[in-house]
């Protein structure tokens, strides 16, 4: 009897497994369809204080950690939020830049993705295109758009007519040098500290040579993992005066003759020891080298990164734009921080998520405070200067005019990124620069086609 029961169980379990396995696909489809209908209905109302919901918020370490404890600052936001909306329970979950993106993809597949995610357009726009987000059209009120008053920035949040990301702050990526060290070496006059601090490739080359002669370690030309790759692309774009893509985001253009020349220069710099070969180091490690004082400069630094590391830095850094060829303006890449809402098929959750986002970005007290915690600049002009008297930040705020075309929303962006570092690794290990760059552009252009 027992044996019969066992084999019966086996058969049943197998069948159940198969059915369940087949079921997932359908579930995902219906969810997608449902999402499209639901979203338009919801309106964010200021008086939704009795809304009941439980939502999950996943956060990259965009806010500087309080007390070296991941999630502690975020917990403070939630407490304040709950004073206003006591019936919305928010679960915070910290993820990291190294494995976070995979976790999100995986969780989307697994149906366990969060409701609110604080990220940047590069990935968020992709989620939007994948049809897993709830649109945030209603949050882009006339008042908000007018307050932001920056078309490029608003465009970065949209695909077609749908807004997928609600921006809170932005900041340019720059280089940074160890100012204290430059002073010690008497090299401070080799950089331009006037006005926008722009400088030429020749001046840059002269400085890193001088630093090497003084025995300082150069910047790490990192190219492992994926994080921070935008910094290395921006560097090449500036050194060569060539944009990464065309303005319509239909084609990559970073294999111009000037780009080949500039990349060759970087390779030679590494060979000559003016920069460090980062074929075994990721962006985080390169920043760690700089903030610990071991590297004299970093090719990727931002106010946010500075903010996160300030406590352990024993020197003063100076922000500089990437050097450019004579007569060419810098073209800065910039980060936009913003939120998206995943459509988990529950209108209540979507509404609650929007309330949370609205609170984080627009609350009179917490809005500006949160921006400051990211160490970046508010997208809302009405927040004014949050860094009164901070020389670095005042300087950085003046750079908006150099913001370049925001290409992180290009089709196939994620796939393109997987080709970039291998290309750098190839040229750093001696492969022909032109062949490698041409190869990259070909693969990258293919990735646009693949994503369509």
């Amino acid at each position: 009897m027992k044996k019969r029961a066992l084999s019966l169980m086996l058969v049943m379990a197998m069948t159940a497994g198969m059915l369940a396995g087949c079921g997932t696909k359908d579930a995902a489809d219906t969810k997608e369809d449902a999402g499209k209908e639901e979203t338009a209905k919801e309106e964010v109302k200021e008086d939704d204080t009795d809304l009941e919901a439980e939502i999950t918020w996943w956060n990259y370490p965009n806010f500087a950690a309080v007390d070296e404890t991941a999630g502690k600052y975020e917990q403070g936001i939630i407490e304040a939020f709950n004073e206003k909306y006591p019936n919305i329970k928010v679960n915070i979950e910290m993820i990291d830049f190294a494995s976070g993106p995979e976790k999100v993809t995986n969780a989307i597949q697994g149906g366990t993705v969060c409701d609110v995610l604080f990220d940047a357009p590069g990935r968020i726009i992709q989620y939007g295109k994948d049809g897993v987000l709830a649109d945030l059209d209603d949050m882009f009120t006339e008042e908000f758009v007018a307050d932001v008053d920056n078309e490029k920035l608003i465009n970065a949040c949209y695909v077609g007519d749908n807004a997928w990301m609600y921006p809170i702050s932005s900041a340019p990526f720059l280089m940074a040098f160890n100012k204290t060290q430059l002073e010690e070496f008497g090299l401070l006059d080799m950089i331009n500290l006037e006005g926008d601090r722009s400088w030429t490739v020749d001046q840059y080359q002269a400085l890193i040579k001088a630093l090497k002669e003084k025995g300082a370690n150069g910047a790490v030309m990192f190219c492992v993992s994926q994080g921070g790759d935008q910094g290395t692309r921006a560097m090449l774009a500036n050194l060569s005066g060539t944009p990464i893509t065309n303005d319509d985001l239909t084609e990559y253009t970073i294999n111009s003759d000037a780009a080949v020349e500039a990349l060759q220069m970087i390779v030679d710099n590494v060979k000559d020891g003016y920069m460090l070969n980062g074929s075994a180091q990721d962006g985080t490690a390169s920043i760690e080298e700089f903030v610990s004082g071991r590297s004299s400069n970093a090719i990727l630094f931002s106010p946010g990164v500075y903010n996160n590391n300030k406590a352990k830095m024993e020197f003063e850094p100076v922000f500089l734009p990437f050097p450019t060829p004579e007569g060419v303006d810098p073209a800065l890449e910039y980060l936009i921080d913003g939120f998206c809402v995943f459509d988990n098929g529950d209108e209540n959750k979507i509404a609650a998520s929007k309330l949370l986002i609205d609170f984080i970005c627009n609350d009179a007290e917490w809005g500006p405070k949160n921006v400051v915690q990211t160490g970046t600049f508010p997208v809302r002009q009405s927040f004014g200067n949050l860094y009164e008297g901070d020389e670095n930040m005042t300087y950085l705020a003046s750079l908006t005019k150099y913001y370049s075309t925001y290409y992180n929303t290009i089709d196939g962006f994620a796939e393109m990124r997987t080709y970039w570092f291998p290309m750098l690794q190839a040229v750093l290990s001696g492969e022909d620069v032109k062949t490698a760059l041409d190869g990259f552009v070909e693969q990258a252009n293919q990735s646009i086609a693949n994503a369509q």
Partner: protein, 283 residues
């Protein structure tokens, strides 16, 4: 068995080659022991000292700061998750594998060859082969981001079944026959006769499974998302992404992961060695 052999042969004269080999062996010892040594000592070093060159070979000024930073993360929760996953996997694998291994070794039935070759072929398959469908299956069962997602797929472990079959071969057929004549039922025979004989094998498999489950980084990476659900290895990997070259904290995490299991291993070394050996070389 081999101990007596070894004792009798110790009289042999030592040659130059022997001495060179031994020296080489001690050098190798250094390489093999070094990671563990460095983890345990590094955990008590200040971050600055942990990365300094020349390295400080022994923490002259031990500090607990790295542990303080580590425990700001739910490291104890990670430890518990790791222990639970490893233990649960161990129990389930031992039970199912003992049952399966016994009949594969001692019974003759229809489809035996087919089933056994299926297990053998699957033995070498890494999980990446079935990655996407496996994740979908886990999701369909609603196990995503739970410990069950890591434990259950490890249960039909072909290697465990293979090992238990090897052990079960040693059960004398007459014993089973005698039990049958005495009117012992199949289950009773299994629990009263088979289990006591293959006990050392089960012990070996248990330790084996425990270590494998503890170190099954890939499945944990794929299946577990949220910070409170991480295991210790996964937690260390996360810290590595967050702290980059803050080796102090990383070593503290690694020490928390390694010390308990190394202690268990050294304590049970004898059984373990026996188990491994008996499974491979029959008899």
């Amino acid at each position: 068995m081999k101990d007596t052999n070894a004792l009798s042969s110790r009289k042999k004269k030592t040659t130059v080659a022997d001495i060179i080999s031994l020296i080489l062996l001690f050098l190798l010892t250094f390489i093999f022991v070094f990671p563990f040594y460095w983890i345990v000592t590094g955990a008590f070093k200040d971050q600055k000292i942990a990365v300094q060159l020349p390295p400080q070979w022994f923490p002259t000024d031990p500090t607990l700061t790295s542990f303080v930073t580590l425990f700001k993360n739910p490291a104890l929760q990670w430890l518990w998750n790791s222990v639970f996953i490893a233990l649960a996997t161990m129990v389930l694998v031992c039970l199912t594998a003992a049952l399966a291994g016994y009949v594969l070794a001692k019974k003759r039935f229809y489809g035996q060859a087919l089933i056994f070759s299926m297990f053998i072929i699957a033995m070498a398959l890494p999980k990446q082969v079935v990655l996407v469908p496996l994740v979908r299956m886990i999701n369909a069962l609603g196990f995503h981001n739970t410990m069950a997602a890591v434990i259950l797929p490890a249960v039909g472990w072909p290697f465990g079944i293979f090992l238990m079959k090897q052990f079960s071969e040693t059960i004398p057929g007459e014993l089973l026959e005698a039990a049958k004549i005495d009117g012992c039922g199949e289950l009773k025979t299994f629990f009263n006769i088979v289990i006591p004989i293959i006990k050392p094998g089960i012990a070996a498999l248990a330790i084996f499974t425990f270590i494998t489950a503890w170190n099954d980084y890939f499945m944990q990476l794929i299946m577990l998302n949220t910070r409170a659900k991480l295991t210790l290895p996964l937690g260390i990997a996360t810290l590595q992404a967050e702290f980059a070259t803050n080796y102090g904290v990383l070593m503290a995490g690694a020490a928390l992961a390694a010390v308990p299991i190394v202690t268990v291993f050294i304590a049970f070394q004898k059984y373990f060695t026996q188990g491994i050996t008996m499974g491979a070389v029959k008899g």
